[in-house]
Every structure is written in C-alpha cells, then in structure tokens.
Symmetry: C3
C-alpha cells in the first residue's frame, strides 16, 4: 500500500474543506468527559466510520482512578437585576465552567465574583475552565463583559446534573494482515474548541475512512475518548490489547497554521518516533521533534512506566504556547482547511513508512550487481548518476540483514519513498529478497 | 540532609569574610612539601576541625617515589656591598626558591645571576619557584629589583636545612551511615599564595566544620597534603581505604573572581562528574566542564590508571591561564570573600546531590496516579501546571527502577532540589518507594 | 619505521616535480578498461616498481559481471566535405567516446549530431564519455567546434577494434612482517585525464617505491586496475586474500589544489578511518571527512556488503563537484607538483599511524612514576610543562591495556607522532611495555 501516492491523486483542497466542514458540525456541541455531548459527537463520527461505543458506569475503578458521575447541562445564565442574561450558556458553551454542579441562587456581585473567570490580557476572549474532580461551579466570560457588570443582585442558574451514569468512548478497529496494531488516539471531551481537539477528531475520522477497505499490514485502532480518564479507562479495560500496540500516535491541535511538532514516545527511539521524525524532515514544512516529557495529552498514560508504549504525539502549535489555547479564540477561524489536509497527509506519510518498512537481503552481496544489463543504470559515464540510481545503490549496499528501509533512508538522507521504490524495483529484478518477519 | 537549604539560612557575606580572614591568618606562613610551615598550617586547621596528623619519615618508599628530606628555613637574603638586604626572605617568602639548600657565599653579580628568577612581563611581581627533587638554590625577585642591582659583590645567605625528617599531612574523617567515602583533597604546600591554595584549604576546612555533627549518608575524608608527593604517600599508605572512595573532589583555586571550572575524573561519567556538572549548570554562575587530562593537581594521582578513582577537580580560573598564577600577585586581594562563599555553596550543593541521589519505584506505574485527590495537583484546567507539579510528573514517570533522581533531573532539565523535593513528597504520599541499596 | 621523518628529510619540491613529470609521461596514452593503453601504462609503472601483471580473458565470469571484449583504437576522425579533419583523435584522445565500435561512414550533419557530445557551459572543453557495456560510438568535442560545423556531408572514421582479448591489471606486493595487508587501489583506465587519475597512479607508484626495501610491519598491496570491472575481477580472483586486508585506501584525484577529502569506509570506525581523519586534522591543510556512501570509486566494490572491507578513499576535490571533472580541462596544469607531494606526505603519515599504532601497558600504574629522576620531567615548578612532557603524561595515564596510541592521540588532541615518540621513550625507560598482538 502506498497511501501517499493514492492520497496525492485526490484534491487536497477538497479534502481540507471536508475536514473543516465536519469540524463546523461538531463545533457547537457542549462536550465534556461524560454525558450527552460526547455521546452525540461519537454518533456523528459513527455516521462516517464503523465505531464501537462503550459505556462504563460511574464508580468503576480504573487503576488509581474512579469513573466519575455523568454530567449533563441544559442551560445556564447570569441575569442582572433587569432580568437580562448578561452571561448566557446558549450563546457560548465555554461560558460555563465544565462540570459545574447545579445552582439556583441570587448573589451580589461581590459574592458572584469568586465564581467568574476571565482573561485580562485578552479582554474579548472567553477562557475555558473545568472542575472535573472537585465539585464546584463557575462562569467564564470575557474580561470586557465582567468590567461591564454593575453592582447589584444577580440571578444565577446552572441547569446541570451530576449523577450516576456512564463514561462513553468510541473505538474503530480496522483489521490488517497482522494483529499488531497502530493506535491513533484523540480526546473528544472539549466543548467548542476547534484546534483542541476537533482538528484531531476530524483528521482521525478521515484517516479511518481512508484506510477502511484498503489492504493493511497492521491493524489500526482509532480511539475517541475523554482526555486522561478516558485513556486510563480504556487501558484498564484492555490490558490484553496493550501488548499488540506496535506503534501509536496521539493526534491533537493539528488544524492551526503553526509548524508541526512531534513529541517522541518515552522510549525515544521507537519506530514511530523515527518514522514521524523522518516524514517531518522531508515534508517541506517547518517542523520540530520534541523529546518526551510527562506532561501533555494522553501519551502521558500510554507512556506511563507500567506501559511504556511506543506512542508519540503529533501537533502543530504546542499546547500552552499560543494565546488562543483554551479560549474562545480557538474557533473555526483558527483552524484552516489547508492545514487540516496537510496534517492528514503527514499522518498518511507516517503510516506509509510503518506499512512499508521492511528488511531485505541483497542477493549479490559481493561487489555491485551489474545494474546496466538490467536497464537499472544509465551509463554514458561522465554524467552524475540520478537520484533513482543513487537510491538503488544505497538499498543494495545496506540491505545486509541488519538494516530496515527506514534505517537506509535515514543513513542516506533520501526520502523513504525513494528508498522503498528502489527496493521494490530491485525485488522485481531478483536482486533483493525480503527477510520475512522483520521490520 | 539538605545542606543547601541549611546553608542558605546563614549570612553568605559573613561566611565569606570568615573564610577570607582564615586565609589571611595562613597567608604569611612559608609552607613547603615538608617542614614546619605545613605543620603550623595543619595545627591551625586542627584548631577548627578534628584533624589526624601523620608524619612519614624521609626515605620511605611510596610507589615509584621516596619521601624526600625535610626542608626548613629561618632566613635568607642577598646583601649588597653596603650591607643592605636587597632581597629579603623576611619581606616575602616567595623570594626564596622553595627547597633551596643552605648557602653562605659572596658572589659577583654575574655569578649570582643564574640563581635569580624574575618575570620580565610583570616587572613588579615575584615569581614562585621550587626545586624539590634536585638540590639547588635560588632567589625570586621582581624584575624591577633585578634591574636595580649594580655590579659588585653580593653576600648571599640561605639559612635553611635539608635533613632527615618527615613529610606531614592531615586528615579529617567524618563518619556517615555508610563506610563509602567522599574524598576532599587540597594541597597545603604552597607558601604565600592565596588562591593556590589557601582558597582550597579554607573552603575545605569550612565544609568539614559544616558537615561535622550532621547526620551523613556517606563518610567524608578531608585531606590536607603536600601536592604530588603527599597524595602519592597517602595512597601508598591507605591502599585499603581506596576502595571505599565513592566520590572525590580536589579543591583548588576557588577564591578568585573567574568562572567555575570542573575538570572531570578520568572515568568521565562518574556520579561526581554528573553531580558537579549539574550543580554548575544550575548555579546561575558562569561555568565550564572540562574533560579529564593527566596534567593538573592531585587528581593526577587519584586518577592514575592503577586507581582510576572517581575524583574530579573544582576550580575557578584554571591554573596557568591567568597571569597572577604562581606569582606574588596571587595574594589576599586576588581572592574575595564573596567568591569563597560561593565556592563553599557550590561544594555543599554537590554534596547535597550525592547525599540525596537515590532510586525510587513508582508504586502506581500503570497510568498516572490521581494526584488531585491527594492535593498534589491543582486542577482548574486551562492553566498551565506549575513547576512543582511538573517535577512530580517527571519523578513518577521515570522512577521505573532504572533511573536515579540525578538521572531524572538531567533528563528533565529541572534542578536536582526540585526533583528531590518532589520525590520526598511522593514518598510521603505512598506513591513512591525507595529502592534500597541503589544510588 | 617512521616514514614521515624519513620523507621530511627529502626535498619536497623535487618529489613533487618527479611526480608531475611521471604524470606528464603517462598523460598522452589513450587508456581504457582493456587494451594496449592500460598495458602500456602498467609497463611504465613496472619500470619503477615490481609489478605483477595479470591478463584475464574476455568472457570470464566475475560475480554478476563478465569480463568484456578488449578495445583498441588506432585512429578516429570526422572529415568535412573539404577533407579537413574537423575532429581528430590524434589531437586529443578524449575526442572519441571510449569503447566506440569501429565505424566508416558518410553522414549528414543531422545524422552525425546524435553521436556528438559537448559541454555548452564550458565551450572550450572536450567532455569525457564512455560506453563500455552498450555497443555504441560517438565523438566528444568542444562546444565551439560543434557550433562551427556547417551543413553538409561528413566522413566518419573510427579505426577501433572490440574483440576477444583480455582485461589487464597490475599489482605490486611488498611483504612485511605480518601477512596482514594494507591495500592501495587506483583506477588506471582513464585516458588523458590528469587528476582523475594520473595523480593516484603516480602517488601510489611513488609510495610503493618509498616503502620498497624498508622494514614493514604490514604487507602492502598496490593495485593498478580498470575502474569497477577491475576491482570486481581482482576480488573475484583473490577471495583468499581478501581476509588479509586489514586497512585499505583508494587513491584518486589527489593532484589538484582543492582541500583534502577522506571518505570513510562503510564500517565508519575502521582504524584506517580514524588514522586518516587524525592525519588530516593535524595536517595543517584544509580537509573534510565524509561519511561512506555507495557511489564513488572502487571503494564501492571493496565496501559491498559481502566484503565490507575497511577501505576508505582519499581525494582532494570530490568527483563531480568541480567543473574540470571528466573534461579536457583536467589536464597537466590542473595538477601541481606541490599538491602531489603533499598528498604523498599525507599517505605516508597515514601509513605511519598504521605501522606504529600499538597498545602499551604502564608498568607503574599506581600514581605517576617519578619522571624527574629519569630526566623525563623538567621541574623548576611554576612554569607550564612542555608538549613533550604532556605527551608522556597522556601515554602513561591511558596505557591501561584498553587503549592504543591512536586512541590516546585522539583523546589528548595531540598529534600521533608526539604520542608515539613519548611511548618509545617511556619504553626505553622501562615505564611502558608493549602488549603483543594488539593494535
């Protein structure tokens, strides 16, 4: 399978527009780590790819954690003394501190103040705040809105529920020839935030659509889960699957215009780490490879020392480094069709490396084979050889049973596709033989 | 023990002034590799810390060397024809070539000349010269002094003795819970030279005072010895102790205003090398780590291939790289209270790392433990986590039985104290357990 | 043997002029991969060094290749309608595409055109073209010459033969104390091209002359062979010798004024790689060390995975990176006596390292031995030690049975000769003993 070649036959701008359109559909939903927001989101993904949805009851123990109560919200507002909604959940779901307990009360401005969150540096933006594991309530609003609040009494209403229920997640499993798996994991718990992480949800959905029905070397498992508690719950319930995860990628924040960042797995030299670094280096896009650190997204759980899975994290701008992060400014304008399509392409390129990385054995290891008599060498002499012949020489010289195609690509500085194409041609000519059961 | 925290509660400038005052007391003494000068110096150190003083007779074989005759000097001068002392040992003990044999003679200027040493580039300074192992005599004087000498006869007197006697050195042993030792070695054989090495003597004495009476993980051994022959003699007489030296530091030239330099042990990756490099990197002071080389101070002997001990050398300006080196300009103005106090602090920080570097095992290795329910995580979401929580995540993720706290500090880029504090807090919360018997 | 010291007693400019004069003798001959041109060349080398010449019949199988037909040429030209030779092999042997089949024909300009090769960017230069393994014919001429050709009929004559015959190569074997070999390989198949590779032929010949009759640690084998097919043929016929090759060097393009380039063997850390890099670093000449790549000269064959011999390639300007490459501008002016002599010196320095690289054991490993009593240490103190004493300390400290002199030279940053001289002096003084059978 040459995913990239197939993908590059499609209209990249059209793909980008489709990704953005799907993000726009998902944007208004008020998601959280449990409840109907994430359920509705998973149902919309299920319309596109085969998704198995799991419900895990409140109170279930998952390692050191417990599945929390289910949270749902219908309405929330702050009304001033004239009965005007000065803060209104119906206008923007970031206005409510996610997981706020139900409240109905009348409070003076000074009593209300401790429950209000704003960003003074960005006075037009609403911050995103949560209080999952400590019962609390609050509103988020723009700093301008807060400054406009006059003294007086305010009616506060949070029409939410926090009750026994379930934690919901979805997974899409695409079987390949091998039971070894490629894991793709996205958090699906953020409300109206576009880059973090509708970008991940839409690209992952599109990747699953793209792979679906194609012959695959590896099996692929796409997880759409609430952050942290979702990864912990999935790991606790799937201990037998964990050993099959050969490569993994957390996808998040891949819709903005920033440079690509790949954060390595805790292992630091896993094949996914080398594949991602290789693809980014040859992508023509600005990019940076980051060492593993224990703070971040769900790679924190996959790379906890008891699992130490080969799971990295692909981002564009890194969380916390751009002002729009976790604010209402991370909206549908902040992500762009072209960037979403490029991110899809980078993921497909990484899968391409994983699917095609193999080890071969040069069948004529003593001296070069005579490529000229097989029309694999142009030989008027004096001219420099071309890139294709160069790739053939690299593959022949280093296919010694010790090195994979990715090893050879890295050592030669040539892109993986050039090395793979050379290997396939040399195989056809009987000059190379695949070493079975080896990467 | 958290040495640094305790030290930082004291008045750093007061410590600096005390160090400098002790250097000033020691400065006038005419020390050499044997004799009453070093004896008197050791007695003054003994007034402050428990010091065991050893006397090793002339002629004792120590490896390839022999303990030399003992040298003492009472007076020395050159008188001109008018009976004026034109060069006078009583004015500065650098005027005499150290280990000069007794002389009483009258010589013409041209006969005298071969015995005179000056520095034409620094015409006001007296050089420091020695002739330990070849019997000889000479005077050192400023270039200006020499130019002022007129033709005529000069009366030369060196009232010294070079006789059977002893080589003297002192050691201060502070027992800790482990019989494994930290060695601190200073040469104590230089006459009126302040940075080289009264700085080392005073800081080492002060360190021993500071450690004395405190609970210690390691035992500490401070050596105050004549350079080269002293280290060789100590090693030859303490072969059974050598195996207990787990970490070691030669202290020299740590009073001037130059940047810190740590010269690694011959091993290059000993724990002392990593601890010193780590401390200097986080010290906020300019510093440089140097690879081992076989020329230098007594690390030459400790790191000879038959011992190959993990002993590095802490300096500020490196010997031979500054003009004051081995001249009368290396005086009490060349070393400064603040620099001495800083050097003491760096040493204490290094000991802090050695004392506290341990390996722990994460007791919840599968996924992160829920720090929030233990009040170890602030969790309104949206905000970036603080440095303390970050340190906890690093310690948890990498306490996998393979890595020490110093390993984790290096990998995370965080200072050792932050990592150690996190480990202690996680231990108290039952999330971490020390792995006994491991660094 | 200290080759460099002996060489430096000779007049370097005289050596350079002799090398250039020999290149000038060889220059006019029309060499190819077979035939009388290379035979005559080998005979001229045989006048200077003992050379065993082998003839391998057309049709002999050598690995994946077959020894081709033998090519010889007597005359070739293109005559215009007035009977003027407008392109004339007698003027420059690059005018003929090497290995052109015999032709006698009259052609219009447009029929002739596909058989003409020029360089439009360098309109005065004749390119060098070959067609060894595909029967073809053609002429190379300057772009100016081609532009001057008028329409009309041209008489084309190539008086060549391509027939059953032999492939010819020469080898010079100089036995040393060990049967392990140093291989020096040069291609001898290029016609009137000076740097590529008369520079290699002349320097290799001179090296063999220089080594001849001297006591040698290693045996030396110099190969003068047609490129590619010659190396393949030699390897196929000498499988039993291959295992004896301990170090190897392909010499090519070492007469021009460019910086030295050493391309490492496929192993990348072979002793020859480290010796060559060390010598170039200390040569005082600009130089660069290149990683192995599978395109280049005959190191391609020696470093094919079935052999993986420790053979690097020494060049000045790298093939294909300078405009004169494979054109008539690579002539006797392009190579210079001084550069040829310097290249010879670099080769001799590399051999010096190989011949003298040994491991020694410090006989006084505990503490430094007392160098002063053996007059190996100047000791007035205060002064910095000199480079010679420094080298002695390095050799003593690191002669621990684990490190060779080259290891010590690299670690110390000192030139190999200084380390070797120190080792020899320390041996004479009984402070060091050679470890037999170790590099």
């Amino acid at each position: 399978m040459h995913f990239l070649k197939e993908l590059d036959q499609k209209d990249s701008m059209k793909i980008g527009r489709q990704l953005h359109a799907f993000a726009a559909e998902l944007y208004p939903i008020c998601r959280s780590i449990t409840g109907d927001g994430i359920r509705r989101t998973l149902a919309m993904i299920q319309d596109r790819i085969p998704l198995q949805i799991s419900e895990v009851p409140t109170g279930t123990s998952v390692f050191d954690w417990t599945v929390p109560k289910e949270w749902n919200i219908r309405d929330a507002y702050i009304k001033d003394s004239r009965g005007q909604r000065v803060v209104d959940f119906q206008r923007h779901n970031l206005h409510i501190v996610n997981y706020s307990v139900p409240v109905r009360a009348t409070l003076s401005l000074s009593e209300l103040q401790p429950h209000l969150h704003t960003l003074s540096e960005y006075p037009d933006w609403i911050p995103y705040r949560t209080s999952y594991y400590r019962e609390n309530w609050g509103f988020c609003l723009s700093h301008k809105q807060m400054l406009a609040l006059e003294n007086g009494d305010y009616e506060v209403c949070i029409d939410s529920s926090l009750e026994e229920g379930n934690l919901t997640y979805g997974e899409c499993y695409l079987p390949g020839r091998s039971s070894e798996e490629v894991l793709v994991s996205c958090h699906a718990c953020h409300p109206s935030l576009a880059n973090d992480n509708l970008s991940g949800l839409t690209v992952a959905t599109s990747l699953a659509q793209f792979l679906s029905g194609r012959p695959l070397r590896y099996s692929y498992r796409f997880l759409f889960i609430p952050g942290t508690i979702g990864a912990i719950t999935w790991l606790a319930r799937n201990l037998e699957s964990v050993g099959r995860i050969r490569h993994g990628l957390v996808l998040t924040g891949i819709g903005d215009a920033g440079a690509f960042h790949y954060k390595k797995s805790r292992r630091g030299d896993a094949e996914i780490d080398r594949a991602a670094a290789h693809v980014l280096r040859h992508s023509g896009e600005p990019s940076e490879v980051l060492e593993f650190s224990p703070y971040g997204y769900d790679e924190r759980q996959y790379c906890s020392p008891g699992f130490n899975l080969p799971v990295g994290c692909l981002m564009r701008s890194v969380w916390g480094t751009f002002p729009e992060y976790h604010t209402s400014a991370d909206n549908l304008d902040f992500i762009r069709p072209q960037q979403l399509a490029q991110s899809l392409r980078v993921c497909a390129s990484i899968f391409d490396v994983l699917e095609n990385n193999r080890s071969y054995l040069n069948q004529n290891p003593c001296c070069e084979p005579q490529l000229g008599k097989r029309n694999l060498y142009c030989s008027t002499g004096g001219d420099s050889i071309g890139a294709e012949i160069n790739a053939r020489l690299w593959v022949l010289n280093f296919s010694d049973g010790e090195r994979s195609l990715l090893d050879i690509a890295e050592r030669s500085g040539l892109p993986f596709e050039a090395i793979r194409d050379a290997a396939e041609l040399l195989c056809e000519n009987g000059l190379l033989a695949e070493i079975p059961g080896r990467t």
